[in-house]
Amino acid sequence: MATAEAVEQPQVVRESTWSRISRFLARSPVHILLVVVGLIWLVPTIGLFLTSLLSAQDYLEGGWWQIFSEPSKFTFDNYSAIFDNEAITSSLVTTIWIAIGGTLLPIVVGALAGYAFAWLEFPGRDWLFVIVIALLVVPLQMALIPMFRLYETFGINDTVLALVLFHTGFGLPFAIFLLRNFFIGIPKDLLEAARIDGASEIRIFLRLILPLGLPAIASLAIFQFLWTWNDLLVALVFGRETQPITVAIYSQLAAFGTNIEIIAPATFISLVIPLAVFFAFQRYFVQGLLAGSVK
């Protein structure tokens, strides 16, 4: 396809952009359909962004599309108000800590186990791995009540630590699964050579497995980051007081309609960071997705 277009190029050099576009659309109804569907897919996100740029007064008079006819209504006032809003800014900081901890800890623990399952010999290895696979689909609802009580006993409800540990426990089966499957594909010769040279297992793990496993670790990091950043349910149970951004927005929802000037920009901020991560590391994200689902 790409080569066919390259061959056509010389003939269309002098054409106007508009006639190029219309010719492109005329080529097949499939193109038109995909353009329309693609635009429809973008509308909600664009709508949220434009809503966040309207003052509360202007929003009551009409939806976000009025910005197209009256661009003067465009204002960043909501955003400056949001960044002066102590509840929102502190929830953003909390979210960042949860996401960092909830990403790093499962990677470290999962990489150690992934290496053991891929390259160490010990009795019952396959059985233990079957348990990990079985735990992959255990719904986290199963742990909410007992962990809430256990956290209460230890007095760590409403702390970032409580959330990070919970995300680690439930992120671990996928982390081990993904990393073990990747590590097992590392050429055996490399490991044998290192072992014959007398390298310890921890040295092999640090110097050989981690660098070679970087693509899988990157995929996992993106997944864990998105999960922990985007989580609502776990934070609703264990983080009502030290609320991350999702819970902060949730507590605004009861008054939906009267506080759109808070909800819209806060929601947009909450999705802009995962979106940036997604666009920066899209390749690893897709790779992880394929490894996690197809395998």
């Binding site: 396809m1 790409a2 499939v30 995909l34 897919w41 509308v43 909600p44 996100t45 949220l48 929003y59 939806g63 976000w64 599309w65 470290v108 623990v109 150690l112 053991a116 390259w119 160490l120 010999e121 010990f122 290895r125 396959d126 079957v130 735990l135 255990v138 719904p139 609802q141 199963m142 742990a143 909410l144 009540i145 007992p146 919970f166 426990g169 993904l178 499957n181 990747f182 097992i184 594909g185 590392i186 793990f205 899988a216 995929s219 985007n230 609502l232 349910l233 999702t246 949730y250 929601t267 999705l271 979106l275 997604f278 899209q282 992880g288 997705l289 394929l290 689902s293 197809v294 395998k295």
Partner: protein, 447 residues
Amino acid sequence: MSGASVTAEPRAAGALPPTGKARNWRSYAVAAAFLAPTVFFLGIWVIYPTIWTIIRSFFSRTGDEFVWFDNYEQIFTSDVLLTAVKNNAIWVLVVPALVTSIGLVFAVLTERIGWSVAFKTAVFMPMAISAFAAGVTWRIMYQQDPEQGAINAAIGAAKDAVDPPGALTDAAPSTDALVGTPQGGLTLGEPVEPGSVVALGLTQIPPDEVPDDSAPAVLPEPLSGGITGVVWRDFKPGGGTPGEVESEELGLPGVTVELATADGEQVGSATTEADGTFAFENLEQGSYEVAIGPETFAQPFNGVSWLGERLITPSIIIAYLWIWAGFAMVVIAAGLAAIPRDVLEAARTDGASEWQVFRRVTAPLLAPVLTVVFITMLINVLKVFDIVIAVAPGSVQDDASVLALAMWRTAFGGTSNLGLGSALAVFIFVLVIPVLLLNVRRFRREV
């Protein structure tokens, strides 16, 4: 992912041949050290709670009484919980199949398109957003007032183009001369003949509905061989005299006036000017009936109640499809790309049509990928929570409820019924057990 697709033989893996028991124990100790943190986390955060919750589900609300299956029975007898079960059944029956089909269609359509990356990025992007933020985004889209909700605004614009709203929504005749109702048409009681001038006065018009462009009402001159008249707001500050066109009273533009013969046959229709006047010209002798047509009072579009109790679940499902279609598309597209070109070419050379190639070659080769997408969605749908809580306003959350939402509300939402909450969690768990067994079997076959 290249690494993951390499399925090395795990039994062949491992260290040097064991040279003795001591060496064995040493390597087991190393393995144990590598696995210790995992055992700690899975043991405390996953396995212990799972067992605890299963046991707790057989105890009463406070936990001091063993109640056998009473909590489970309550899932199917309490109205609110039964709604959650039914809604979740709808999700399971509808969503995985829809997501897989949409993903398949997108993947096939984009397969040979040069700019498919742009399309795929647009459709895949919502995957990065939290289901909660996506829900809030769609809640803004779903607002009922067409002035605020984009979806109703689009529907309203389409409807107004086909079926324009009337100039007014409501009014009453100012004198007894007009009879009838706004919805059925207001007819002048006395028939009129060409050359007459008729005054059709209206009152009780909502103040914000008098059009901005209306001018002071004028009683037109008689027209030979025609009927002229005025439709006006027969009211001014202080009241005025009903039935008389006075200064300060405004004409009503855009009103549809209908003319019919005495035996009811419609012969003309006119729209009033800014000053409320209208005219029918070149009429034959005879008597005519003049009426204000019902389309004058055609109601404007008030918006579909997407967030009302009847449509809430379909509305949430649409938002959910918006998130997950990209996932299905990307995974299926990867499956499509893995199908060897020469197999397809061979089928085409043998004279198979494109549809036959798809039906007989592509689809069977794609079946494992479609199954994976379907099952992944099945698990997701059983646990759906964030998007429901974000899209559904508090007043309809009972109508939109699903198992995970019911579980959270039961255990943490005031009533603190830990027995019933545990039973709901176990119920979700039991539903995913077939998938759990499938995963395990697939792994054991692999080894």
